[in-house]
């Protein structure tokens, strides 16, 4: 906390007396313009290492992706051929690319809606309701977030196993044999099997994030609302949601970007894009083209599409959720 106090009069006079006159201070005191210039130089010197790192590791590789998307290159040979927008023209005729794009959009929508919805719901329940064992529940839900994504993929591969898997075993136990599936082998449901793993992995993190925001809301607001006759749902939409909006907004934008990345790792580890490319997502298809199929330029063209799509969706989400922050 900062407190401001005015100095006593005599000390102010003493300071004024001891201060050098403007004419005789050329050597001692610096003019405001020179001081500002010096400050600017210092700020730039402090920023320079971060700016250099950002340029070397972010700007240059991104520009390189854009540049390489205009070439055909195997990735190994020294011959690179400039083909202009040919790689993008090929994308228009590539059904595998369209399928990967569709899968990416489906995962983005389904996983974001379910994770954000469930995260908010669970956080509201755990914060507002006095549940028994809520600390244990919070701990259990948070555990997947500290596990490696590859470990999660291994866990879910075991859960989905056709013969000895937990899911089919439980269904057999409940005499629901007809509901048994080849969860990672059926083209229609394989993507949703991956989506469940994605939700399981990220739910705890977002729940804890929202819980910490909700814990900061003053209790008096809820007391006043309940005295006015507001229901729990009304309190959630009129008090909780507006007061955690900035957090929700940031996490939503962040989640959209991380969902694209997370889907790649889980798909690679759980299905490898199969069966018959039915669970391929944009990043895994780009990886396959650039590093397995030796079509580096084509892979970079897919990378440009991913960049543009992620950037556009994040920008639109940021615009759609912008509002004045509330203070309480």
């Amino acid at each position: 906390m900062t407190t401001l106090s005015t100095p006593p009069h005599d000390s102010a006079e003493r300071t004024a007396r001891s201060a050098p006159s403007p004419r005789g201070s050329r050597r001692g005191a610096r003019s405001p313009v020179r001081r500002r210039r010096g400050d600017l130089r210092f700020v730039l010197a402090c920023l320079l290492p971060a700016l250099v790192l950002f340029a070397v590791f972010m700007v240059y590789p991104t520009m390189n992706v854009f540049r390489m998307s205009l070439y055909t290159w195997s990735g190994f040979s020294p011959d690179m051929k400039f083909v202009g927008l040919d790689n993008f023209r090929h994308l228009m005729d590539d059904d595998q690319f369209v399928r990967a794009f569709q899968n990416t959009v489906a995962l983005l929508v389904v996983v974001t809606v379910v994770t954000m919805g469930m995260g908010l719901f669970l956080a509201a329940i755990m914060t507002r309701q006095k549940l028994r064992g809520r600390n244990l529940l919070r701990f259990v839900l948070y555990i997947p977030n500290i596990l490696s994504v590859v470990v999660i993929a291994a866990i879910f591969s075991a859960v989905y196993d056709q013969k000895n898997g937990l899911l089919n075993g439980a269904l057999r136990l409940l005499s629901l044999d007809g509901w048994q599936q080849v969860w990672l082998g059926n083209q229609k449901i394989v993507l949703y099997s991956v989506a469940i793993a994605m939700v399981w992995q990220s739910l705890g993190y977002y729940m804890v994030l929202y819980m910490s925001s909700m814990a900061g809301i003053p209790e008096e607001l809820y007391e006043a609302a309940s005295l006015d006759g507001a229901s729990v749902t009304r309190q959630f939409f009129s008090i909780t949601l507006p007061l955690i909006w900035q957090n929700l907004r940031t996490s939503l934008t962040f989640f959209i970007m991380s969902a694209v990345n997370l889907s790649f790792v889980l798909v690679r580890a759980m299905t490898g894009g199969g069966p018959d490319s039915s669970s391929e997502v944009l990043l895994s298809y780009m990886y396959k083209q650039a590093y397995t199929n030796s079509s580096y330029g084509y892979g970079m063209a897919i990378g440009v599409v991913i960049f543009a799509f992620s950037f556009l969706v994040s920008l639109l989400v940021s615009r759609a959720t912008r509002r004045e922050p509330l203070q309480f």
């Binding site: 369209v98 399928r99 959720t321 509002r323």
Partner: protein, 65 residues
Amino acid sequence: MAGMAEMKDSMRTALLVTVRTLVAAACVALVVIERSTVGWGHLGVMLLALAGLLLLLASYNRRFR
């Protein structure tokens, strides 16, 4: 008179919430259904559904700006 207006207002709010929920559910369902067929047209419909969800979010947020 004031009670009637209040009731009208709460009815309007309830209707708005119901419509928004239905539109959001329809957009998610559209994404899931269109994903099953491969093609640019189907991808376009999926992107439109995604845009619909974002518009819904923007319309909910508009009164708080």
